[in-house]
Symmetry: C2
Subunit: 227 residues, 2 copies
Amino acid sequence: MPETETTILLAAKTVFLRKGLEAASMQDIAVEAGISRTLLHYYYRTKETLFRAILVHAVSEIIPRIASIVETDLPLMTKIERVVDNYLQLLLDDPLLPHFFVIEIRRDPQVLVELIRSRSGNFGALHRVQQQIADELRIPVPAKHALAHLFTSVYGLVLFPFLAKPALDEVFFGDDPQAFPRFMQAQKPIILAMLASLMKTPPAAPANGSPKAKKQNSPRRSPAPRR
Amino acid sequence: MPETETTILLAAKTVFLRKGLEAASMQDIAVEAGISRTLLHYYYRTKETLFRAILVHAVSEIIPRIASIVETDLPLMTKIERVVDNYLQLLLDDPLLPHFFVIEIRRDPQVLVELIRSRSGNFGALHRVQQQIADELRIPVPAKHALAHLFTSVYGLVLFPFLAKPALDEVFFGDDPQAFPRFMQAQKPIILAMLASLMKTPPAAPANGSPKAKKQNSPRRSPAPRR
DNA sequence: ACGGGGTTTGACAGATGTGTCAAACAGGAA
DNA sequence: TTCCTGTTTGACACATCTGTCAAACCCCGT
């Protein structure tokens, strides 16, 4: 018999990630959680409150891991490899996250960007690496936008398959739930090869594929937001 | 004084592309069109009817152009260049299309895929080129999924910047409405370079859309990751 | 001026959604 | 037992949404 609050958060995550704030209803979440709708309001007074909890949790789950990689002194391509690796692990567990962020980036970009900034350590440090990225790119771009070019390339390649997953299932994978994860494992070296081809400096070591990667789950559950 | 029906379709497109079927309301569309909500029901009896008109129009605007390119006998990389070029032209005019399709692919993949099939000429022909794509790819993948790998790579690179546009505006471009189109022009050779790096056969000619001739020495030094 | 047909609107019914409230239901302390 | 406190629910008020209908409107031919 799990705690009511964790039940609520789990159900809310499922529903919000699939539909976004606007299209999701408290009724949807109550049914998903198997409780009465009123109880949702008891724990989280409004839909926005509950949504905010899910949003903060989702951002906090991803951003710090990525920020800590970016802030290291590793070579650029090594950072990219680790970032891609981290995202793939995370997204294979939560394939709806890209869809959720796409919806919310459109609905209220300001709030979302601000939240990401707040969980990024010194996000401003990113602007300091812009020149560095511009120097490393084989194709010349204005330094001011070098980070944007790299960002859209990396995130486009990594996130898009998850956005298109329902169509891929329909056309290529049928009902086999293992097919998509296997596909993404095969896609990973393709992604890294494309990104590596942008760099002047070739990657240091092959080091890809799936080495002794320990299965790692997030060991911490942080299920207790306050109302 | 434009025709009421075109006014309605234009407003419906604006609202549906931004919010998708579920989150959009007939009221939203009526306000956008500057008419009464009842009038929408006069021209299109239900919301689904109106939505269907927009969906069919959006698909018909894109898919035949792409299908006609794919069905030619051009070399693979040439096809890709033309597909990318066509999408960029189209999406710079309608930057919300990727967002719309992402929402609707999740809401009802079956209907959308079926509609795309119906506008693709012989969509089945795509499966015939799978082996061809697999042979051309530098990184070995099962032929059955070769098209899926190429599809996610191309579409991820091309569509994602439009999905992330609100965040890019917020972080990089500020209020300058010209910045994003310029950015995409600069991103285009990056996209093509990444895709070309996947191919065994190098692209035939530079043949770049950018009028500024860039004397780019052929970057043959492609690091080929071995596994 | 007079009809008449296509166009447009206000008003309504019924469904669904959010948020509040008081009452019912625990289960442990005194 | 009774009391108390935290949990859960049903019922309500209010807003919004969809779809229908009859009435009003406009414009053109007669």
